[in-house]
Symmetry: C2
Subunit: 459 residues, 2 copies
């Protein structure tokens, strides 16, 4: 018996080693192909420079849908289709104007932009005193008496000493998301929010906001100001608290419009009814061309399926690339995809999202059970030659979040985050800010993880 | 006895844990200070934008020496001095010109730059057929018959599928360094080398070269061509092998001139006769302002000593920051420093160099014995919160190389290398290509390693 067990152990070890060698060889193929013959950069060039910014409900978003469908069809997948979803439509209108009048006739202008979903100012703009706060708590302590009739200026910067910049973002973004809803309760007439950017520069960064349960009459216009602008405004206010702030925006929310998630599928050879999703979001904000957020995630996800075909790997499970629509201001695409999957009883076992920029990949964050995480950790040596070292439990991605249920593993690509917020939601999120190799390494890293999960399943 | 041993073990463990907690706290202070109150970015701004490119022997190099001395003095170190070193002086002259004449009167121009140390063309330029090769081996197979009287065009690209770009550089740079020496032997009249750049763009990248033991009469002018230029030239040559190539450069080598390494020291409190060096090189090529190569390394090294003072850490060993002169085209500074150290019998135990760009730090490479490397590996958990994961045996840095002897540990900072060769030795190596946080994280990582080696010594 003991001899049999020993023999079995040896066989299993040999088998394990053979598997490991095979996996190593496959990863080598994947990385080599991505770096030498990759398509992701060329795709991103088209999406960014020929289509450009593609806010939900815009003509560009529709162009992006058509482009995505065409390119997925060109990959020769088993099935490509559009999944209808109604999305919000908000337009920025003419370029926003903001300045402060420190004494009659003496004005200083600031680079600002409306937050997505903001109401406009009254026609001709508004003019009011402006009061600086460091956040929602300070606002609450000031109360109606000190806030009513004024513009509220949220100026708590992102925390520089946090190593992962997404944490610093998480610690600040309440000002942008809920700032207007809270200030509106106290009778403020407008809101200016310091841009979510660790760097001092002149780009205002837009982003989503919510009025919560405010009545229409309480909704006030909200704009982001560049970090340099915020510093200057703060200095001027320290000198003259009575200075008048002028704000003019004519953004507008329209009726919801028809749009689509774009989906492509390779049917699984062994378990066609188990689904694995890889995706990013096709929509972007309107200021830049959305190269990092999230053109990168879109083209990397496309590249996963292209690389599988290119290296001749036939997945056991059904693999879907999903270009989600409307992540930025509604998440309608992600919700719709999950809803339809549930209605159809499709068994989703794994989903991976890339929505943190096209920078050098460092690893992944996993929302999964302990057994699956242990399995992931056993794959670490496979990734070492590619300098992929970060495997942590944590969040995944906004679009795949609605798929969450017992038994599914969700994962998010984690690229280096130091420069992400220099570009996030701003005019400078453009193609030239993406490095070809960094983008390709991300795609190869995603493909490798998809391969391993397809081969070994989740636990 | 057993009880005593157990008690001892417990005490050692408690002691070990206390040490670990102290180290953890010190690293936290270092990173926080570097990211919140760091000086490296401000220093780099001055060095790059107020001084600029600082080729050995130039006026700017002298300005950089004076600036370095002034700033080190301002840090309140125990001692700051200039170490004299004679350096080569080579000047580029007027902007180089290169074009090909595919038929009489029909010309196409290319972005080129002379390699550092090249001889000029004859006055008025040279004109010859040009022959493309993939490297020195192919050149040798062609021999004198096919090479004599022609310009040789080295066009082997950097290998895209190597993950660490320095490996790809190492596999190509023989064309630049030895290309003219080899082609000169076969009677070539000039050399054009594809730029050491993985990206396709329009910047020619200069760099050092050697004529080996060629006689003066055999020395031929050598220039780099941009990667896009190389692709175009190759295409045009495929169409017409008889096309005439024109090259005009008036670079010049002068007599050696006086320059300096800039050195600052904090005297060790326990072992003042053990020296630890941290440094980079103060000189740069002349095309850009040398922000990544190696302004970053200079200001990060200065920051190490500033951070020690800032957090109140008094090193046990004598810590020196060394701004080496003339790494790029002679290594005279590094050689001189080592020579003087040897003459004075100074016991150098550790040296760290940063000369791979101011990008997100990933870790270090070590040239050391096994015991020291084991010690380094025991420090890994301390670096994990800062996403520093790469600890490998290998090279260190060119300037500290001459210090190598039995018992010394040499180390090199290893930042993310994907974008380094986009800027290396080219016009676009400028301040705006450096991210403040990435630079600061590098400085903090270097400071942390210096702290640990100072505290625990080498093995």
């Amino acid at each position: 018996m003991k001899k049999i067990l020993t023999a079995l152990c040896i066989l299993l070890t040999i088998g394990g080693n053979a598997q490991q060698e095979e996996d190593k060889a496959i990863l080598e193929k994947i990385y080599k192909n991505a770096l030498v013959n990759g398509k992701s950069y060329e795709w991103l060039d088209y999406l960014s420079n020929q289509i450009g910014g593609r806010l939900s409900g815009s003509l560009n978003a529709q162009k992006a849908v058509e482009w995505g469908e065409k390119e997925l069809k060109a990959l020769g997948l088993d099935r490509v289709w559009l999944q209808p979803v109604m999305v919000p439509k908000w337009t920025r209108g003419v370029t926003e104007i903001a300045y402060i009048e420190t004494e009659p006739g003496k004005t200083t202008s600031f680079p600002i932009c409306a937050l997505g979903g903001s109401v406009p100012t009254p026609i001709g703009g508004l003019k009011a005193e402006i009061i600086e706060v460091k956040g929602l708590e300070e606002l609450a302590t000031l109360g109606k008496e000190k806030i009513a009739g004024k513009v509220v200026f949220y100026n708590r910067p992102m925390q520089a000493d946090l190593i992962q910049t997404f944490e610093a973002y998480g610690g600040c973004v309440d000002q942008r998301y809920a700032g207007a809803a809270e200030a509106g309760k106290y009778g403020a007439v407008g809101v200016i929010v310091r841009s979510m950017n660790l760097r001092l520069d002149d780009y205002p960064h837009t982003g989503s906001m919510s009025y919560g349960d405010l009545k229409d009459t309480q909704k006030i216009p909200a704009a982001a100001i560049s970090t340099n602008g915020a510093e200057l405004l703060s200095t001027l206010l320290a000198l003259n608290k009575k200075a008048k702030f002028h704000l003019n925006m004519n953004c507008r929310t329209w009726k919801d419009v028809q749009s689509y998630n774009v989906i492509g599928e390779i049917k699984g050879s062994e378990y066609p009814n188990e689904y694995m999703v890889v995706g990013g979001h096709l929509d972007s904000w309107d200021l830049g061309d959305g190269s990092h957020d999230d053109g990168a995630g879109i083209v990397q996800s496309m590249e996963v399926l292209r690389l599988f075909k290119e290296i001749g790997y036939k997945p056991k499970r059904s693999i879907r690339v999903v270009m989600f629509m409307n992540e930025e201001n509604g998440l309608r695409g992600g919700k719709k995809y999950a809803k339809v999957a549930k209605q159809k009883g499709e068994n989703h076992v794994f989903a991976l999202e890339s929505d943190a920029g096209g920078f050098t990949p460092r690893g992944f964050s996993f929302d999964c059970n302990d057994a699956t995480f242990t399995q992931v950790e056993s794959w670490k040596p496979l990734f070492e030659p590619y300098l992929i070292h970060y495997f942590a439990k944590g969040g995944s991605g906004a679009d795949i979040g609605p798929l969450k249920k017992e038994g599914i593993t969700l994962a998010g690509l984690r690229p280096d985050s130091q420069r992400y917020f220099d570009y996030h939601h701003a005019k400078n999120d453009t193609f030239d800010a993406v490095n070809k190799r960094e983008l390709e390494l991300g795609a190869a890293t995603m493909t490798s993880l998809m391969y391993l999960f397809d081969k070994y399943g989740t636990k």
